[in-house]
Amino acid sequence: MSEPANTGDLLVAEHVSRDFGHGEHTVKAVADVSFTVGRREIVSIVGESGSGKTTVARIVLKLLAPTAGTLSFDGHDVTKLGRAGLKAYWRNVQAVFQDPFSAFNQFFTVRRLLERSAKLDATATRGGRIEEALGHVGLPPETMAKRPHQLSGGQRQRVMIARALMFAPKLLVADEATSMLDASLRVNILNVLQDLRNDLGMSILFITHDIGQACYVSDRILVMSKGEIVESGPTDDVIFAPQHEYTRRLLADVPKLHEDETSLGSASG
């Protein structure tokens, strides 16, 4: 990994807004949102459907231009980028999306899929890179010869993460990346994300509707409602001492396993 200019936050979004539609039909999907993602930090955006969290993800990924506001990455303004600028940006910012079942071409082996991605980056030396990336997500090199139908949902999603890792990105955006997976497989993916941060120093923007997952994986949480960030802070503060009314209501509705902490002695061993 290239040594970043270790000053300031990796990603800074300032007063970012995004409208859809015109005139009286305008929908403010994201309204004046400011946040940062620090280096080696896992930041979660939580919110219900329609809160604008995916729009934020798409703005960060430069798949969607903000209507207003600025975005800077690694100390550079990236609000407006040309073709070459975008290509360089995407080398540093990669994404994993929700659906690992439709993200694959059924007829390609994992090797072919990953090589196609590797080709996009002229600097990538192929074979070794792929093996290394698969190693990071806990998949053996034999996986390269497999086709999607031979992989479980959790393994597919790990291949998608490996694909993103081949570029050694500084920021990984995971948009509902674990929502379609079963609980037991989901935990493995979240652990992979934490290992990437710990071992490779990657920053992760984790977008989810599931507060439990955000609570487990992230250092900091941003709570979105109706296009605005209503509360943000370290995970422990937001989850266990929420300040905003909306966060409190959301947390009250989340079903828990243990009513009180006393029953936890046996559960956590």
Partner: protein, 375 residues
């Protein structure tokens, strides 16, 4: 939350014994999706059925509601409703049975409403399909009364489906499917497509329906164990077509006896402090392909607590009301599997975990049937 009476002394509302059902394609091998499953639901009881994708929980719901249609065939088993035997192999279910004796609320029911028909017309259809002599106005009046009883606004009757929110739609289909006061409601993933606030409202409504004896019992099928914690009296955990453990909700969550139950509960991420403190370990590998399930205990290839005897069919440790189907549970009577499982999983080397992953996932179910999808 599990304040129900002792169901052991009451007569079971429905009692299923040795239910076996398979998907039989025209060509190729049959897939036994539900294998020798026995389950009772008692008067006033809400039983949760939990498990991961492809474990057979939706199939069980279809069979118990007599909605098994080709290629799904019931290969064996007995079902008694209110003490009377029901012929599971007979395809011709009397029309009066569905909706009146057992009602199925299938997965994604909220999206099954035709967009061009008002809710009140659905309501009339439901009532008059069972008794054509009922007047339209009477059917409507009955629906309106039911909605008011459950604190839902009567105006939804005049609405088209698109005018209702997802949560309201799900509540409305739930009311419609229970209009005829069925004895048992089988609800398949009713909360999965809803956000947490709507989930809570629906769960409260179902409890209210049981409390007011609109329905006498519920089988609540879901992959979401925390939701079951808020509604179920008992929980059955399914894995690869079999029920591996049944216990009262509190008991199962606090002291799961089957290693799979323990592992599943261990992977549940809830916003509670212990989740922040510990690294959750998950379960290596993936559930088996039911075309060719493992012999003996089906969880054995992934189980950190497996022993040589696990190659034989596991025993039922406990009674039909309360059991774990596991050698370990039999040898460690009354003990929670959580500490032993955690210790064994921590001891497992990374290579071992990768080997299990590779061995079990090769044959894993490719597509997921019941998965949580962001709306």
């Amino acid at each position: 939350m599990t304040a129900s009476a002792l169901p052991q002394v009451t007569k079971p509302l429905i009692s299923a014994r040795g239910i076996t059902a398979a998907y039989v394609p025209d060509r190729g091998t049959q897939v036994v999706a539900v294998d020798d499953v026995s389950i009772d639901v008692h008067e006033g009881e809400i039983v949760g059925v939990a498990g991961e994708s492809g474990c057979g929980k939706s199939t069980l719901g279809a069979v118990l509601s007599l909605n098994a249609v080709a290629p799904l065939h019931v290969l064996g088993g007995e079902l008694e409703v209110d003490g009377a035997a029901v012929d599971l192999s007979n395809r011709k279910t009397p029309r009066s049975w569905r909706g009146r004796v057992v009602s199925l609320l299938p997965q994604g029911a909220l999206n099954s409403l035709s967009p061009t028909i008002r809710i009140r017309d659905f309501a009339c259809d439901v009532v008059r399909a069972h008794d054509s002599k009922v007047k339209r106005s009477a059917a409507l009046e009955m629906t309106r009364a039911r909605l008011e009883q459950l604190d839902l606004p009567g105006r939804v009757l005049d609405a088209y489906p698109h005018q209702l929110s997802g949560g309201m739609k799900q509540r409305v289909v739930t009311v419609l499917s229970t209009l005829l006061e069925p004895r048992l409601l089988i609800a398949d993933e009713p909360t999965s497509a809803l956000d947490v606030s709507s989930q809570r409202v629906l769960v409260d409504m179902l409890r209210e329906m049981v409390h007011r004896e609109i329905i006498s019992g519920v089988i609540f099928v879901t992959h979401d164990i925390p939701v079951l914690n808020t509604i179920a009296d008992r929980i059955a955990i399914m894995y690869a077509g079999k029920i591996v453990e049944i216990a009262e909700t509190r008991e199962l969550i606090d002291r799961p006896r089957h290693p799979y139950s323990a592992a599943l509960l261990g992977s549940v991420l809830v916003p509670e402090p212990h989740v922040r403190r510990t690294r959750v370990l998950g379960i290596p590998g993936a559930p088996p392909n039911l075309v060719n399930p493992p012999t003996g205990c089906r969880f054995r290839p992934r189980c950190p607590l497996r022993m040589p005897e696990c190659e034989n069919d596991p025993p039922h440790a406990g009674d039909s009301f309360h059991f774990a189907s596991c050698f370990w549970a039999e040898q460690h009577e009354g003990e929670s599997a959580v500490p032993a499982l955690r210790a064994a999983t921590e001891k497992m080397s990374a290579e071992e975990a990768i080997a299990i992953d590779a061995a079990t996932s090769a044959a894993a179910v490719g597509d997921a049937g019941t998965i949580e999808v962001e709306r």
